[in-house]
């Protein structure tokens, strides 16, 4: 047997090279897209911001006709924050309740069917939520609103708002319903992973079902639920169409703190004026609002990730 030198040639197939390049290109595209979104919005918004004659952050004015340029986001910030916060206050308890139901009270086929139905809510497009909220939910809740105003009207939150039912509260309720599936699904996942050991230890001590949940399930799932809620908050902040359709626009300046007031969120204001982006200055004002929204949702999502990662550790 003759000895031959065995070469392990480094054969780089042509196919390998181009395929790898393609994968890297895709990743680069993703990164560039994100960076560009931020940069572009900032670049286009800046000239308008410079020419703004009122304070961008504290003013509630919005006059962007030809010649004048006064725009401030205080009103938008208030309405955006109020609708999102109220939506979360409504959605999170219900989501946690459904998650507990499916994982602790009715597990098995029935439980997963209930979970499936709740997940189906996530498939409904937001414009349909908007239509339903405007035409059906709002009028249905009208008498309830009137009663609330009558009984609690002395609290600023429940004072007089707009006449129609297209108010902050209706929008918040619809937002809550839209956000519910995602918070519920993540909470369900987290609760289902509670180690059996801890559940049994709690039960062996003679705890009732609720006590067992309180001792074993909820502490285990707490950070997951928080992360899920922050994710939901991010969605609620950015939701455009449902809010645009439901919320009556008001032309009165200043901030009405009532839950029954109308108003506009960052997203709905941009959408309401989408047909009027004719001059660069005007467009820049709306893009500035969009930029604030981008930063806001980014911050909320970042917090959500931090909370989720801390749990994994």
């Amino acid at each position: 047997m003759s000895t031959t030198q065995i070469h392990f040639a480094n054969i780089k197939h042509g196919g390998d090279r181009s395929f790898r390049a393609g994968a890297i290109a895709a990743a680069v595209i993703v990164v560039l897209l994100v960076l560009f979104v931020g940069i572009f919005l900032a670049v286009i918004a800046t000239p308008s911001l410079r020419r703004d004659t009122v304070n961008f952050f504290t003013s509630t004015e919005w006059n962007v006709g030809t010649g004048t340029l006064q725009f401030g986001i205080a009103g938008l910030l208030w309405t955006t924050a109020l609708t999102a916060v109220v939506a979360m206050l409504l959605a999170v308890p219900v989501a946690v309740g459904t998650a507990l139901l499916v994982t602790q009270y009715v597990p098995g086929r029935v439980g997963s069917t209930i979970g499936f139905v709740i997940d189906l809510l996530a498939a409904v497009p937001s414009i349909i939520f908007g239509l339903w909220g405007l035409k059906l939910l709002g009028p249905f809740l009208g008498p309830f609103y009137a009663w609330l105003q009558h009984v609690l009207g002395w609290i600023p939150l429940f004072s007089k708002g707009v006449e129609s039912t297209g108010n902050v509260l209706t929008a918040s309720i619809v937002l809550a319903i839209m956000v519910l599936p995602i918070v519920s699904a993540i909470s369900r996942d987290v609760f289902a992973q509670t180690p059996r050991d801890h559940i049994e230890a709690a039960l062996a001590l003679g705890s009732t079902k609720w006590e067992m949940i309180r001792i074993a399930v909820i502490p285990y799932g707490r950070s997951g639920v928080i992360a899920a809620s922050m994710l939901g908050l991010g969605r609620a902040l950015g939701e455009t169409i449902a809010v645009m359709i439901i919320l009556s626009q008001t032309n009165t300046p200043g901030i009405n703190v009532s839950l029954f007031a109308g108003g506009e969120t960052f997203a709905s204001k941009i959408a309401n004026n989408a047909q009027e982006f004719d001059s660069p200055a005007k467009t820049g004002a709306y893009i500035a609002a969009g930029l604030v929204l981008f930063v806001l949702t980014f911050a909320v999502n970042a917090i959500s990730r931090v909370v989720a990662d801390r749990k994994v550790r």
Binding site: P107, G108, P195, D197, H198, I199, E200, A201, A202, L203, A204, L205, G206, S207, T208, E211, I215, A216, P219, Y220
Partner: protein
């Protein structure tokens, strides 16, 4: 405080599958009884019926009588939650509550029953940890997390947690199988001390452990795969290991199967 257990004609079902058939035995107060037998013979299942823990699995139920000092745990109107306050359990893997400190873990059972008096809690925590031979090791870090202890210490913590509520019976489901030999010996010594105040029933895979620790031993076995588990023989430990009455027991003891 320690109670007598009488089991009469106990059958255990998981859905329509009969897992255990016709178990009858007596456990005297202040003794340690070991359940031994091959895997799947039903010894853990029977242990869990003594505090109605099997009912945690959907579709599981038991027929027959389990009496604690003459009171049937499966009688009408009896709440499983109440049963578990009287019969404590220690599990195979130590499972202190991770969200609670050492102190809170031991006090968990008391707090559930409404005891909030700090003095009472302090006393009980100290007494329980002392009885579990853990006090000296943790008395200076009672507010550290329960999971910061070693495996053997965690299991002693779980024992302290179980005895803090002064149960009538302590059930132990292979309490040492996840521990190293030194911690195992420590727990076995502890069991010897616990039996002065409690009735103890322990499931174990380890026959040497059973012969070291228990006064009485019960041998469970399956007739064949798919048949329900049965109690083959129960007697004083010495007798079971030296001179068992049934051949199956002798075969198991001498290692011919299982």
């Amino acid at each position: 405080m320690a109670k007598r257990i009488e089991v009469e004609n106990l059958d255990v079902y998981y859905g329509s599958f009969k897992a255990v058939a016709g178990v009858s035995l007596v456990v005297e107060p202040r003794t340690v009884t070991a359940f031994i037998g091959p895997s799947g013979c039903g010894k853990s299942t029977v242990l869990r019926t003594l505090n109605r823990m099997h009912e945690v699995i959907p579709g599981a139920y038991a027929t027959g009588k389990v009496e604690l000092d003459g009171v049937d745990l499966y009688g009408p109107g009896v709440d499983p939650v109440a049963v578990r306050r009287l019969v404590g359990m220690v599990f195979q893997r130590p499972n202190p509550f991770p969200s609670m400190s050492i102190y809170d873990n031991v006090a968990a059972g008391l707090k559930l029953n409404g005891n909030r008096n700090k003095k009472v809690l302090d006393e009980t925590v100290e007494r329980s940890l002392t009885s579990a031979n853990l006090w000296n090791e943790v008395k200076d870090r009672l507010n550290k997390a329960g999971t910061s202890l070693s495996g053997g210490q965690q299991q002693r913590l779980c024992i302290a947690r179980a005895i803090a509520v002064k149960p009538d019976v302590i059930l132990m489901d292979e309490p040492c199988s996840a521990l190293d030999p030194i911690s195992t010996l420590a727990i076995e010594d502890l069991i010897g001390e616990l039996k002065e105040q409690y009735t103890v029933v322990i499931v174990t895979h380890n026959m040497q452990q059973a012969s070291r620790v228990s006064d009485r031993t019960a041998f469970f076995n399956l007739e064949a795969q798919g048949r329900p588990g049965q109690l083959v023989e129960i007697d004083d430990t010495e007798t079971i290991f030296a001179n068992p009455a049934k051949k199956a027991t002798e075969d198991y003891i001498t290692g011919r199967f299982g």
